[in-house]
Each structure stands twice: as C-alpha cells, then as structure tokens.
C-alpha cells in the first residue's frame, strides 16, 4: 500500500514538474519569437528611416531661390526638389505609399511598400511599412489641408513624418485568445515620428 502511495505521489510530483517545464518552454518560445520580431521591426524601421530622414533633410538643397521646393504634398505622398548628387542639376524626388495588395504574399495584411522615384527613373521600393503619414505645418503652426493646394505649397515650413513598421510574419495566436477586432497573430510594431524643417522651401 505504501509503495503504491509512493508511486502515485511521485507521478503527481513528476507530472507537476513536467507541466511547469512545458509551460516555461512555451513561454520562452513565444517570447523569443516576439522579441525577435521586435528587434526585426526596429532594424527595418531604422534602416528605412535613415534614408527618408537624410533625403527629407536635404529637401530644397541646391534649388534656386526663385523656384519652389515642394511640388506636391499629400497625406501619403510628397514630391520635392533637391540636388541629390551635388552636380548642379536639380532632381525631383517623389515618395509614395503603395497599396496593401502589392504585398499579399506576406502574412501581415497591413504592410505595403514605401516607394521612391527620382526624376523619370523607375519607382523603387525603399522598405515595407504599415503606416506612412505626412502632415504639413506653416511657420505659424497651422496644419495645412491635405492635399496641400498648389498656391499654399510655399507655406510649408515643417513636414511631419510618421512611419510604422510591423513584421511581415508573426506567430499565430491561440484562436481562443483572439477577441473580436483583434489580430490573429503577434505582430511586433515600431513607430518613428519626426518633424523635418522644409527650410529651403519657406517664403518661396
């Protein structure tokens, strides 16, 4: 009888230990996946942001004073002039946000390409983002209407850029844990928001 009790007690203890280790392993795997996703999106975001930041900073560089710098300004698209190669020739840069239908092969249904075009060249993708929003402020802090009317483009003093990147693939969540309106996978997200001075554009 005592031996049987020992066996049952041992199985209980062993089972508990086994469950604890299994749970810990699950948590470790899920966290590892989430943290990897977090790191990935932060790296993706910073690499895309570096390009955007650098080119927005040079907005209007080398453009003659009589010429306007920003030629089109919308909530997800902007076109501006800049001497990219410092060769004396003014280039036209255009940033646009693609549609979600262009990235249907990824698990994330919200990601889309951020596209860049120089002059009449090919449209190139500079990264995958989930949000790319632009807002335009005047020197007095007024937020300009979108798209900015042609006759008010010269009033743009500050360009506010908001960019969000999510990972294209993420581990699916347990269906029982997904509430209405929530997403079915553990997507990591990283946000970047910056205001850039369109100083070369002011008063032109």
């Amino acid at each position: 009888m005592s031996a049987l009790f020992d066996v049952i007690a041992s199985m209980l203890f062993g089972g508990t230990l086994f469950m604890i280790v299994l749970t810990a392993n699950d948590i470790a795997t899920e966290n590892q996946s989430t943290y990897n996703g977090d790191m990935l999106v932060q790296e993706m975001l910073t690499s895309t942001a570096q390009l955007v930041e650098g080119e927005f900073r040079n907005m209007g560089f080398g453009v003659p004073e009589h010429q306007r710098t920003i030629t089109y300004a919308d909530s997800t698209a902007i076109s501006f002039l800049c001497d990219l190669n410092r060769d004396g020739n003014i280039d036209t840069l255009k940033y646009t946000l693609g549609g979600t239908d262009e990235l249907l092969d990824t698990q994330n249904e919200m990601d889309r390409f951020l596209k860049r075009k120089v002059n009449t060249g090919q449209i190139m993708s500079v990264g995958a983002v989930t949000t790319f929003k632009l807002r335009y402020h005047t020197r007095d802090g007024e937020v300009l209407p979108i798209p900015v009317p042609w006759d008010r483009l010269t009033e743009i003093h500050v360009v506010e850029v908001t960019m969000e990147v999510q990972n294209p693939y993420a581990p699916y969540r347990d269906a029982a844990m997904v509430k209405s309106g929530e997403r079915n996978a553990l997507y990591s997200s990283s946000l970047w928001q910056q205001t850039r001075l369109a100083s070369q554009n002011s008063r032109r």
Partner: protein, 173 residues
C-alpha cells in the same frame, strides 16, 4: 515515503522554483531591453524634431528681425530665454528662447509620452563642449528627453537621451 525522501523532494522543488524565478526574470529583462529600443527610437525622433525647429529660428533676439551684421558679440542678448509673450514652441523666434523650456509630447499612434527639457548657453568657440563665461557667436542647446508615460517600473528602467546642438551666428554681406 521516508522523511529523507520528503526533504529531498522539497529541496528539489525549492531548486526548481529558484531556476524558474530566474528564468522568468530573464524573460522580463529581455522584454524591457527590447522595449527600451523603441523608447530610444521615439526619444531620438522627438529630440531631432526639436533640434530641427531650433535650426529654423534666428540666432538671437537682436538678429531675428534685423539684417544688420553684429560686429561684436557684446551686442547679443545677455539673458537667454523667451521674450515676453513667447510661451510656446511655435512662438519662439530665436535659438535661446528654448532656454529653460519643458515640453511634453505624445507620439501619434502610441501611448508613450515623452518630456524634453532645454538648456541654452553661449559656447566656447575653442571647445564647444564648454560653456563660455561671456557672449560668443556660438550657442549650445542641451536637450534631455525621457519617457514619462507609461511610467517606469523603476528608476533604472528608463534612460534619459541627452543631445546637443550648436548654432553659430553668420551673416552674408
């Protein structure tokens, strides 16, 4: 089960509990480190946004509306700070208006809120990291940016981002 076996089992449980505690602490710490990466990104973007704004204003109150070259730095402002009526960033029109300002900003699309404090001084032209005792043609802005919402779990959980910007006075004749 003998007393010895019971003690051995209890000892094993204590050992396992210690391992599990350390494991969960490690997982939590890793999460904090990853989250601080996002904090760093947002704090940097906010700080550089303010620096951009500062680069778009005049060097000094005496140069913000005058096109006359300042031949001697003694003509520059003695008191660094906003002039009367300038009580927000959009009203600042010269570099030292930011001196003493504290600005909170919430990143759009995020519940994270950041505070930035500004300090402006005249900088030594031979070593811009040093403050100058008198007026010079160089001003340095020191910014400190840190997250205030959601609050940190502990004092060591959030780093303050420190950035500096030096602006020089120049005039085209």
């Amino acid at each position: 089960m003998t007393t010895g076996q019971t003690m051995l089992t209890l000892g094993a449980f204590v050992f396992l509990s210690t391992i599990m505690l350390n494991f969960y602490r490690l997982v939590a710490d890793t999460g904090t480190v990853i989250a601080s990466g996002q904090d760093g990104i947002l704090a940097t973007t906010i700080a550089t946004s303010y620096m951009e704004l500062a680069q778009g204003v005049a060097f000094d109150n005496v140069t913000d509306s005058s096109d006359i070259a300042i031949a001697n730095p003694s003509a520059l402002s003695s008191v660094l700070g906003p002039e009367a009526g300038e009580d927000s960033l959009s009203q600042y029109n010269d570099f030292d208006d930011f001196n003493g300002a504290t600005v909170d900003k919430q990143a759009t699309g995020s519940n994270r809120r950041y505070r930035t404090t500004f300090s402006v001084c005249y900088a030594n032209p031979n070593d811009v990291s040093q403050k100058s005792g008198g007026k010079t043609y160089l001003k340095r802005m020191d910014l400190k940016t840190w997250r205030i919402e959601p609050p940190a779990a502990g004092p060591n959980d959030i780093d303050t981002l420190r950035t500096s910007l030096v602006m020089g006075y120049f005039h085209f004749d």
